[in-house]
């Protein structure tokens, strides 16, 4: 399992592996927002938490169709399915690797982009905490979506359609925590609920992802 994890990391980090693509997308979305709504700092700082969360979510979404597709094409998934580790573990490891290569950079980059959007000083810690707690859920849910659409030729758009409604609870609690933090309110309640969702999703969704993958590998 650790070997699989390291292999996924290595593949993602190699040139053309897609690492940094999500990050660049996140950067561009954040930079485009002031162009589209105007440079007024008051408005920007009010919407900053929401924009950063949305940007992180879209960046996550963007990298999902590569999550399993490459392994599907070259037959690695068939090998993994017959390997002595359960498929549930495989999808969990895949989701973890996806988070480390996509979610974690977003969490680290978010404060920098927060400066660009005039995020209020007390908002940084809740923003980073909520992203750190929430992006794993995005990776796990995304793995489920990727597993559903892995056999399809043009799965990318369908993948977004399927995954976006599933992202709603995570987005609501994550953005709410970041917003409350930025407005100087106590973000503890949404943060706890967010953590609850992440734990719940990480515990149960790999079962569904593995079941779906088994169907697709039949």
């Amino acid at each position: 399992m650790i070997a699989l994890f390291l292999r996924d990391l290595k593949l993602a980090l190699r040139a053309g592996g897609g690492f940094g693509l999500g990050l660049a997308f996140f950067l561009i979305v954040t930079v485009l927002v002031p162009f589209s709504i105007g440079p007024g700092t008051g408005l920007l700082s009010r919407i900053a938490p929401g924009v950063l969360w949305l940007g992180a979510l879209l960046a996550c979404l963007l990298s999902l169709d590569r999550l399993l597709a490459l392994d599907w094409e070259d037959g690695t998934l068939d090998l993994l399915a017959t390997a002595p580790i359960p498929l549930e573990a495989v999808v969990t490891v895949k989701a973890a690797a996806h988070w480390v290569t996509t979610g974690l950079p977003l969490v680290i980059a978010a404060p920098v982009l927060g400066v660009l959007l005039n995020l209020s000083p007390e908002g940084f810690l809740p923003l980073v905490t909520s992203l750190a707690l929430g992006t794993p859920a995005l990776s796990v849910i995304g793995t489920f979506g990727a597993a559903l659409t892995v056999g399809l030729k043009r799965g990318g758009l369908l993948l977004s359609l399927l995954v976006l409604p599933l992202y709603v609870p995570t987005l609501i609690f994550g953005a709410e925590a970041a917003r409350r933090g930025a407005e100087g309110l106590d973000p503890a309640t949404p943060l706890l609920l967010l953590a609850g969702i992440t734990a719940f999703v990480a515990a149960l969704l790999p079962l569904a992802s593995a079941a779906v993958l088994r169907v697709n590998l039949r």
Binding site: L166, V168, A211
Partner: protein
């Protein structure tokens, strides 16, 4: 004689063929009576005026939007556990009907909200939940349409329906947390005190029956269509194999 006999497509087709004319007639009769009663014969509400008449459409369609998803959930579970093809096809057949019901609930709600709340759309928990439900219907139908192998499609959509149900419920509570709404509470609860007056309630009940019967008739008919479509596919494959 058990309900599982209807898992046989032939048996299903012959039985529904006999029941469907009655169902159609009953559904249309209930809808006609209920809507006529509601539209022409009920008084205006002292607070909402004539707009109360919209509820004979809004409440039943909203109920059916949720119940259709529940029916799909049950049918998906039956497919996953007992592998009856009819069950999977019934879930597929119900999805567009449920989506239509969701749209009706949303549209009537928006038209009603315009004069009452002063806005077409409000990010109110119930409205938002219905929008999310609609997205789930869309995703479910898109997944069915995207996969060629019927058994794979049935498996994948069933699991999506299961996972989607959990997330729809989660979203419902998340949305509640996110914004307190304008929408009134349950108007159809069995608790008499909170209930609306009988004058409004009885025609609404007939309308609910009409929507329910229409839904059942549509789903049975559509399931029959899906069974035949599946058979066409099977015959064509056999033909190609023979050629």
């Amino acid at each position: 004689m058990s309900i599982w006999e209807y898992a046989n497509p032939k048996k299903f087709l012959t039985t529904t063929e006999r029941a469907l004319p009655w169902l159609w007639a009953l559904a249309i009769a209930c809808l006609a009576v209920g809507l006529f009663w509601g539209f022409f014969l009920t008084p205006d509400d002292y607070r909402m005026g004539a707009t109360v008449k919209i509820f004979y459409l809004h409440v039943p369609s909203a109920l059916m939007a949720i119940n259709a998803w529940l029916m799909m959930l049950v049918a998906s579970l039956i497919w996953l556990i007992r592998r009856h093809h009819v069950s999977a096809l019934a879930a597929r057949a119900a999805a567009p009907v449920g989506a239509t019901m969701t749209v009706i609930a949303l549209v009537t709600g928006a038209i009603w909200g315009q004069p009452m709340w002063g806005t077409w759309w409000e990010w109110d928990p119930r409205l938002t939940s219905f929008l999310i439900l609609f997205l789930f219907y869309l995703g479910y139908m898109a997944l069915w349409a995207a996969i060629d192998n019927p058994d794979t499609a049935a498996d994948l959509t069933s699991i999506l329906c299961l996972v989607g149900s959990v997330f729809a419920l989660l979203s419902r509570y998340a949305v509640n947390f996110w914004n307190q709404g304008l929408h009134q509470g349950a108007s159809m609860s069995l608790d008499k005190k909170e209930n609306v007056a009988d004058v409004f309630w009885l025609p609404a009940l007939v309308c609910i029956a009409g929507f329910l019967l229409l839904f059942v008739a549509l789903v049975l008919y559509r399931t029959g269509t899906e069974i035949r479509a599946r058979r066409i596919q099977a015959l064509q494959t056999r033909e190609r194999a023979a050629a």
